[in-house]
Amino acid sequence: MSDTALHATAGTDRAPRPRFWHDLSFWGLLPSRLLMGFALILPIFIIAAVSLATRGAHGGFAWDFNLAGYRQILFNEGWTGELEFTPQYLLIITRTFALAGATTLICLVFAVPVAYFISRQPPGRKAVLVYLVTLPFWVSMILRVYAWMIILGKDGTLPRLLETLGFPAGMSFMFNDGATLTAMVYTAMPLMVLPVFASIEKLDGTLIEASHDLYGNRWVTLRRVILPLTAPGIVAGAILVFVPALGAVLEPTLMGGGKQMMMGSLIQLQFGGGRNWPFGAAIAMALMALVMIFLIFTALRAARREALP
């Protein structure tokens, strides 16, 4: 509290402001603050510290600070023994972003019509449909991915179906980017449908009618009325899908056959077989920095939109 504020209240008869520990909301919020502090913020500081530490010979690290972990993202010893620019990690980072972006886009394309459809149902059926969308969350993620392996793999559901339709026998759709993307879209879909549904539901139907009254055709109505009003839900869904997709390990390994590394598997390799914890932590920090940039960018755009009349 500033001095002027103190003077302003000094003359009045008000009781002294209670100490913060007399305040019920302090105690009420304490568990969540502790949870945030110890489970989210502290680990990030530990990772940041490890990324600056010196690696141990067989994993682990020593508190001896340097930037080797970060340097390694761009520059490494080549096969001739000289330090050279190595684009391999940038390639992995780019691939990861492309995969996460594709996942988000496909989810969006499917989620908007689904959410719109659900929001236009009578209340009872709506509840059932929303429940059905959340149903996959009741099953462990690894099982959901395995289910796709059974569907797409050799002698799986889809190849058998195609076989009965006259396609050649013994087909397999596993171990390629399409298989990875299928599983990723499937696991992420509810995270997109639910926020989009929430914002479409709040959409005032009379506004759509008004748009039609003003000779707006379907496309114009979608672009000028529905999309701007549901944008918060779409942005929330996109973030919920995109950010976890950046760290995906399971789908690329199991469905894609692990033939191309993603950032998740690269980080895992550094902490495991690579035994280079500081480098693994440095990549994790880089990933987080990129995510932060993405989030700040979206937040700024949202703020600018709010500011518009």
Binding site: L91, I92, M149, G153, G257, K259, G272, G273, R275
Partner: protein, 338 residues
């Protein structure tokens, strides 16, 4: 509100009290220790045994390095056991003075990974190489050439593990490069070999190997001897290739992580598993070779019924690499999958 808090506090007290009696927390390879023996031990000693499993030595090492794992027994392979001793991650539990030590076959005592044999008692050993589905592939398998430089029907039907550890070792055996080489030029040759093989590879995965191979999703998979034996006995048309360049060897041992909360029970369990009778039962369950003395008449997997476990080609055990050599391995693997 207070009532609920009191009830929760009470419940917490009870749950910790219930845990205070004899416990043993084991961290072992998935499905590696006979559940029947664990139950027997649990009943005889009134100890509650919890078993968690890991799927790679790297996972185990990372967990122990992170500290206070809460495990009383772990089962690393030889080259990781050495690291754990050097890094002071496991207890000296005086293994060489136990009865279990007397039951180790003489030739497996006091190896380079634990010269004094104070930190470990071995539990199983075996090899890693490539296994083929004999219905899909009928060609020769007497060399790693057919696996690393596949032609014809094996193209696109090959799978490796998701970790470099034994795979790089096998490539080194094929090329005649020593394990843990620090020579860049030599390791570049390993990378070139794996890069040339990559277009023929369907997957780099350590999960689900049995079904991938049995279903014919792939025709050749990098795998372990005992697993191949188990799959064959379960009716899968698989066969372990006896490659003339040799096979990659491994040996897993019981160790006690530093700060194990139930150290006495851990030692008791190791003694229990190492008696002639129990070592035999364990060997029959795990289907890998046993470095312990066993009751020969009761051994199920004999030379006639399980040739996988009795290779006549040389076996080279994985070594503990220096940081420089390990970096080269990681570099090969990252460039391969970049």
């Amino acid at each position: 509100m207070k009532k609920y808090l009191a009830a929760t506090a009470l419940a917490l007290c009870f749950s910790t009290a219930a845990q205070a009696e004899g416990q043993l927390n084991i961290y072992a390879w998935a499905e590696s220790i006979s559940p029947a023996l664990i139950e027997k031990f649990s009943k005889e000693n009134d100890v509650k045994v919890n078993v968690d499993s890991f799927t790679s030595n790297e996972d185990l090492l990372t967990k122990l390095q992170a500290g206070s794992s809460g495990y009383d027994i772990a089962t690393p392979s030889q080259h990781f056991l050495r690291v754990m001793i050097d890094q002071d991650l496991i207890e000296n539990f005086g293994a060489s003075k136990l009865k279990a030590y007397e039951n180790i076959e003489e030739k497996w005592r006091n190896q380079w990974w634990d010269e004094t044999q104070d930190y470990s008692i071995p539990l199983a050993y075996g090899t890693a190489g490539f296994v083929v589905n004999t219905e899909q592939y009928k060609g020769p398998t007497d060399s790693f050439k057919y696996f690393f430089e596949p032609e014809g029907e094996l193209k696109g039907k090959i799978a490796l593990l998701s970790y470099p550890d034994e795979v790089i070792g096998a490539a080194q055996l094929y090329l005649g490069v020593p394990f843990c080489s620090e020579d860049q030029a030599e390791m570049k040759k390993v990378l070139d070999l794996l890069m040339a093989q990559k277009p023929s590879v369907a997957a780099y995965s350590s999960d689900n190997i049995a079904s991938r191979l049995a279903s014919g999703e792939v025709s050749a998979h990098f795998w372990w001897d005992g697993d191949s034996l188990r799959a064959r006995k379960a009716g899968s048309p698989v066969s372990l290739a006896m490659t003339k360049e040799g096979l990659v060897g491994w040996m897993d041992s019981y160790v006690v992580p530093k700060g194990a909360p139930n150290r006495d029970n851990a030692v008791k369990f190791i003694e229990f598993m190492s008696t002639l009778e129990n070592a035999t039962e364990q060997m029959n369950f795990y289907s890998h070779s046993s470095p312990m003395k066993v009751v020969q008449e009761k051994v199920v997997n004999t030379k006639d019924t399980a040739p996988e476990l009795y290779p006549e080609v040389p076996i080279t055990f994985s070594r503990t690499c220096s940081a420089a050599a390990q970096d080269l391995v990681t570099r090969v693997w990252t460039q391969l999958l970049q």
